[in-house]
Amino acid sequence: MSHGPITEWKEDGSSEYKTKLGVIMFLLYVIVYIGFILLNTLDPKLMGIDVLKVNLAIVYGIGLIVYALILAIIYNFLCTKKENEMAVINKAKEEIK
């Protein structure tokens, strides 16, 4: 029984690059997130020290949210760039054919 996706789109050859990039970005976030959890768990007092007029807990917490937004923008920028590159290459290949 066929149960593949109905919506058709062309595989443009950028998947492998995007998957690798996704894993790298994921690890970049995970390291900082694990640091946050461990700091909260093992040294909660350190989270109370003053940083930028507030404290480390607030700066790190807000920082994690903002960090996610920044990584998301970079990821999309690089993926879109690759997709555009592949589109040019694929078009050239078709023209050669």
Partner: protein
């Protein structure tokens, strides 16, 4: 606390309901086939889909629950915001594009795309239903409890209204109407959260949080002349001290004032009696709030600072974003602790004040016990890590979130809509800190129901914004419930009836099967909502995240990244994840105390959050079983 239903709130509520119904009937004329029903034709713009993601994800638990938790537990409540957002990183970087590529209507399709296995079809559908039901029940209970005070409609009426409207949304146009309802709700929620945050900053912080039309109760202290053993003499001799509730750690006394019963905390250090709030559960089932029936509105709102700007009568005037947090950190916040005492056959819950430095409110430790210096054990610490793990891994395993990847046209659109979602949701979660802390210092906490903090804060700023926030809170429930019902109806009609059972249906019949499933799931959700009335069911959303992280995510990750994964491995992973996470939850202390009501019984499981054990178990299951059932590439798997 008693809430007056406002005409404006009812009018705005009716307007939003009318808008939602209009959207549903408008799209019902457009969509006819199963593509339209399950994935809105697969042509939703990624921007719209992204905001709809936010509308789907930001449930009552996010909006009401997190704001409420921050208002009573400070920074520890904000940890939920951080964990819930972090989950989207997994969704974006690991799951978004491959899910779109592999699946058709449901996440079961994606898991099963390489196998065509009856086992996967059944177990993934079962997992979808279990996770969705855990999510649905608190939404329905939330709907009933919200509508009761805000619109003056009885609890069961609220559940029926939500159930009926959601069934109409889903059964008319399926995912198309659901998407636009979620888009509408997500947009409104974010815009009005910004408005409230601006108002909080503009209002600033004062030690006397007098709001526009709700006078803040002035909590008083009675000077003590002498304490002799258990006998207290007050300066004002007209007060007669009654029953004492005294142990080594606390001391409360009853005093009759103007023939009204009051309870006071004895502060021996400062030689004063401090006013408390209390709820009395009588043996005959009646409940009294501060000694009076609920209608008398004697159970005051709380939440203030006792020292602002270095003064006991401080007022900051309007403040900036960081100055707001800094002012709380430098000041002193009055928080409320709870003690339950027995008075004959009556059970009295006493809420008493204690001052906490702002710096402690803004650091971890008020809710989660993680500091070993304060008596936290290794299990307390593991429990906390486990919760943060479940929040991180749960999001990308929630079926009602995953189905939204099929409403867009391409993997790139799936990625872009996830990024819009991260921005919308991340921005909203940043605002939860200001709304929660705003409620904490502006007298907007109802100690009998912390979920009302955000609407009550809005009420302090004016009736129109209160009416709007009430209507949005209701729309929040509609948006999330409709997403859950689409996911459940897909699991029943598409995964089980069409694929697993192999019932031959025309496309029209498939749509009809989806709609009938939606109606059945909706009716079951209404029944459960009424059945669970009065129960604190907020923990069910936590269960949903733990089960999704344990049963669904390991299978998704391994199918995507490990070529040796077999169908039997996937089935083993889902079932081991389901069973292990549920077993740990059902044998945990929080369920023993909160659900079974077993007093002084130690539960066998030392942690409440299962992810730290059940997620690795689920991964182990898929690896071991896949290796044991490895087949040659040409062989068909069953």
């Amino acid at each position: 606390m008693k809430y007056e239903a406002s005409t404006l709130a009812i009018m705005i509520f009716l307007f939003i309901v009318a808008l939602v119904l209009f959207i549903s009937f408008y799209y019902s004329r457009k969509g006819k086939n199963s593509d339209d029903y399950y994935k809105a034709g697969g042509n939703i713009h990624w921007g719209v889909n992204g905001v709809a993601f936010a509308g789907d994800y930001l449930s009552a638990a996010s909006f009401l629950g997190i704001c409420g938790m921050i208002s009573i537990a400070g920074y520890d409540g904000f940890l939920y915001s951080i964990g819930y957002l972090a989950g989207w990183i997994v969704a974006l970087f690991v799951v978004a594009e491959p899910m779109k590529k592999l699946g058709k209507y449901t996440f079961t399709d994606a898991l099963d795309s390489k196998f065509n296995s009856k086992g996967i079809q059944f177990f993934a559908a079962l997992s979808t239903l279990i996770v969705s039901m855990f999510y649905l029940i608190p939404q329905m209970v939330g709907a009933g409890s919200l509508v009761e005070p805000l619109l003056g409609i009885p609890y069961w009426g609220g559940v029926l209204i939500v159930g009926t409207i959601v069934i109409i949304i889903v059964a008319t146009a399926g995912m198309a109407s659901t998407t636009y309802v979620q888009f509408l709700k997500g947009g409104l929620l974010i815009v009005f959260s910004v408005i409230i945050t601006i108002m909080i900053l503009n209002n600033g912080i004062s030690t006397d949080p007098d709001n526009n039309f709700q006078n803040y109760h002035d909590f008083v202290e009675l000077p003590i002349t002498e304490i002799n053993g258990d006998v207290i003499t007050l300066e004002d001799s007209s007060y007669t001290i009654g029953t004492s509730f005294k142990t080594e750690t606390y001391w409360f006394v009853k005093i009759m004032i103007d023939s009204k019963e009051t309870i006071w905390e004895v502060d021996q250090e400062n030689n004063v009696l401090k006013e408390t709030l209390f709820i009395t559960n009588k043996a005959n089932g009646d409940t009294y709030y501060n000694g009076a029936p609920r209608e008398d509105a004697q159970f005051y709102l709380v939440g203030h600072m006792s020292e602002v700007n270095g003064s006991e009568t401080g007022d900051t005037g309007s403040v900036g974003v960081f100055e707001f947090i800094e002012q709380i950190k430098e000041g002193t916040v009055v928080l409320w602790s709870t003690k339950v005492v027995h008075d004959g056959d009556d059970i009295i819950t006493i809420y008493y004040q204690h001052e906490v430095p702002g710096s402690e409110v803004l650091a971890p430790g008020l809710k989660f016990k993680v500091d070993t210096d304060k008596g936290a054990t290794i299990f307390d610490q593991l429990d906390f890590i486990s919760l943060m793990l479940a929040l991180f891994l749960g999001t990308a395993g929630l079926p009602h979130i995953l189905i939204r990847y099929y409403t867009v046209a391409s993997p790139a659109a799936a990625r872009k809509s996830t990024i819009v979602a991260i921005f919308a949701i991340g921005f909203f979660y940043l605002l939860t800190m200001f709304m929660g802390l705003g409620a904490m210092v502006n007298g907007a906490i109802d100690l009998s129901n912390s979920n009302m903090s955000a609407p009550l804060l809005a009420r302090g700023f004016g009736i129109w914004i209160f009416a709007m926030i009430s209507a949005i809170a209701f729309a929040t429930v509609l948006g999330t419930v409709s997403g859950l019902i689409v996911a459940s109806s897909g699991a029943v009609a598409h995964d089980v009836m069409d694929r697993f059972m192999g019932i031959k249906m025309t496309d029209k019949q498939k749509v009809m099967a989806g709609k009938i499933s939606a109606i059945v799931v909706g009716v079951i959700a209404m029944a459960l909502g009424i059945l669970f009335k009065g129960m604190n069911v907020s923990y069910l959303v936590g269960w949903a995240f733990s089960v999704a992280a344990s049963a669904n995510l390991p299978a998704i990750i391994m199918v995507l990244f490990w070529k040796k994964t077999t169908a039997k491995g996937v089935v083993a992973s889902i079932s081991v994840g389901l069973i292990s996470s549920m077993t740990i939850i059902l044998l945990s202390q929080s369920v023993y105390t909160g659900v079974y009501h077993l007093v002084d019984v130690t539960a066998p499981m030392p942690i409440n959050n299962p992810a730290i054990i059940s997620v690795p178990l689920s991964f182990l299951a898929i690896i071991i079983v896949s290796l044991l059932t490895k087949k040659k590439p040409t062989e068909l798997q069953t």
